[in-house]
Subunit: 393 residues, 2 copies
Amino acid sequence: MENLLSDRIKQTPPSFIRSILKTAADPEIISFAGGLPNPISFPQEDLLLSMERIVKTYGSKCFQYSITAGLPELRQYIAERYNKKFGLNLNFENVLITTGSQQALDLIGKIFLNKNDGVILEKPSYLGAIQAFSQYQPKFYQIELTQDGMNTEELEKTLQNNNIKFIYAIPDFQNPTGLSYSEKTRQEIRDILKDRDIVLIEDDPYGDLRFDGVRLPYIGAGKLKNSILMGTFSKTVTPGMRTGFIISENAEILKNISLAKEASDLHSNIFSQYLIWDYLTHNDIEEHISKITALYKEQSGAMLNAMERYFPKEIKYTTPHGGMFLWVTLPEGVSSVEMFPKALEKKVVYVPGDPFYVGLKDVNAMRLNYTNADSKTIEEGIKRLGKLLEDVI
Amino acid sequence: MENLLSDRIKQTPPSFIRSILKTAADPEIISFAGGLPNPISFPQEDLLLSMERIVKTYGSKCFQYSITAGLPELRQYIAERYNKKFGLNLNFENVLITTGSQQALDLIGKIFLNKNDGVILEKPSYLGAIQAFSQYQPKFYQIELTQDGMNTEELEKTLQNNNIKFIYAIPDFQNPTGLSYSEKTRQEIRDILKDRDIVLIEDDPYGDLRFDGVRLPYIGAGKLKNSILMGTFSKTVTPGMRTGFIISENAEILKNISLAKEASDLHSNIFSQYLIWDYLTHNDIEEHISKITALYKEQSGAMLNAMERYFPKEIKYTTPHGGMFLWVTLPEGVSSVEMFPKALEKKVVYVPGDPFYVGLKDVNAMRLNYTNADSKTIEEGIKRLGKLLEDVI
């Protein structure tokens, strides 16, 4: 069999998170490892009402094959929401529905990357993006992520030297760190890119989940000609329905994404598109989101308080103003991968730093998720982790 | 932009069918072009009952992230149905849910194909498969499809000469021809492949849609070690939910498909998987399918009768015993692509032969779909097409 497999698949790293999900099935384990939204974010009863309404109103259209780019009504809704919130100038043709954001990452890799093309990522970056792009065998360049976003000096230097196709960034509540880009960094990136033929991909799954501070404008959307903005309903309505989207004002990019999508899954689930559109137009989504962010503020607060109490003083961590994660930095030389079996024994799990880096091992950092456990459980989990940290450092 | 695009996407042909769907929106046009199942196949009311039941019973599980291989209950149901119908020996771990069969094609291309690897297809073959595999830049070998299936002499010769990774075949009611493989051809292919390290992909979206004759056993499933069987609920429950599946007893193949799927869309819509599983276990699917096949028998009969009446005698066509398509062969030298604008004027459309071949132009054949119009409309459409054929030949 080995000789029948493609080089591509041999070079695609399996996801640590997916393999850990099985471990985390033990009900006694407190998991900070997943990236699961809290079930409070699924408006089950209203979705059921919407189901009844769309089947009654649209009948067989909800069940038949449909167009690749997605339901025009949903795309128009998305365009208008972004126009209103961010002063953009979009119409439905600037929006393409994807089978979750993961498919958007895959399609982006597909249409841009030849083997050994350059891709710039944050350091650390989202492991699902590393996995998706790896399938196309690029050369990765990871650029240090500071408290203010990507190190722009390093970015500029990297762009001068190499055959870069695109930059992938998560400017708000970054995965895995929870950090957000400052206005200064955003402007510097715009200045660096404005005369270059390089695509900027801004992935924004968490922007709506802000519970502190003020939202800043996107870096590329509406400002750079080769700009792609990614969004999703996974964190605000339901991830199980796999409904994400790509926004771009560059028609050539969307045409090629659409062609790749046609060859990859024809179109995304049309029932879910009708459903989410109907839900959004019959309910107050901003009010729904405010319930989610109130809960996440409480949960992240519980985690930060517990870390203050139970973590040794040498341990550093980020203080997110939104999103689902925070990032813990251990003393140098302490490997979070090596610690992992001991954490499992103490019945608490996290994602070690390694999968967020390309080619690094035994990283002294870990990602913690705070959205999927109540405050008491979070405190208990951090207490267990704190004891372990005292043992190993 | 052009210089930023991958070679892969530049070599992926756009789908003729998808581009034609827009044209076919004119209500006066009679379309034999699409591959749309008849809406009778969507059990809308029973699906709505299932929706209410699963939201009530499984709650947030229907809306949360889920595992890549798919809902174990649905996979177990599929395994048992195939065991019962075909004497196979499957369990849920032999089944992996895909986002429609199109994703299965993409994932198969992804895990097996390096650039210039060989792929064997029927001649003609399904255009969506050509499109999916093209993304991985293989070398295609098309093998003549006879009334009894793939020409096995030509198959054997091709296998001796080249670096073939897999064979892609649709042995029952093939798309585009409607032809099925004889038992003799099936056995010959088994004999040819049994000692070779080559994957056989049997795509079976239409097998359940038999309205004449007797079903024959699969070629590879349960018999060849590197066998992949593809199936879907698109033709029997709903295509809009994008729920297909891959069956294989080769754990190494499924492990790699799962890894590629994880990187491509994490997992398929879990709500739809609960829904289809609940529908299947609370309703009589065989009875539901018998309603679909009764209708398709009537519709294909109407098309054949009309062709008998209205087509010039030189025109040849297949007589399908199931499925959704038949294949019309025009006199040599008559290009169905060239005829297409005139057909559009006469308000009847079909899929020209060209996209079912790799690198052929002005083919003297066309695919007709009979499942999505009533018998009267079919007769009228064939009458229009008959007049046009009289004009051009």
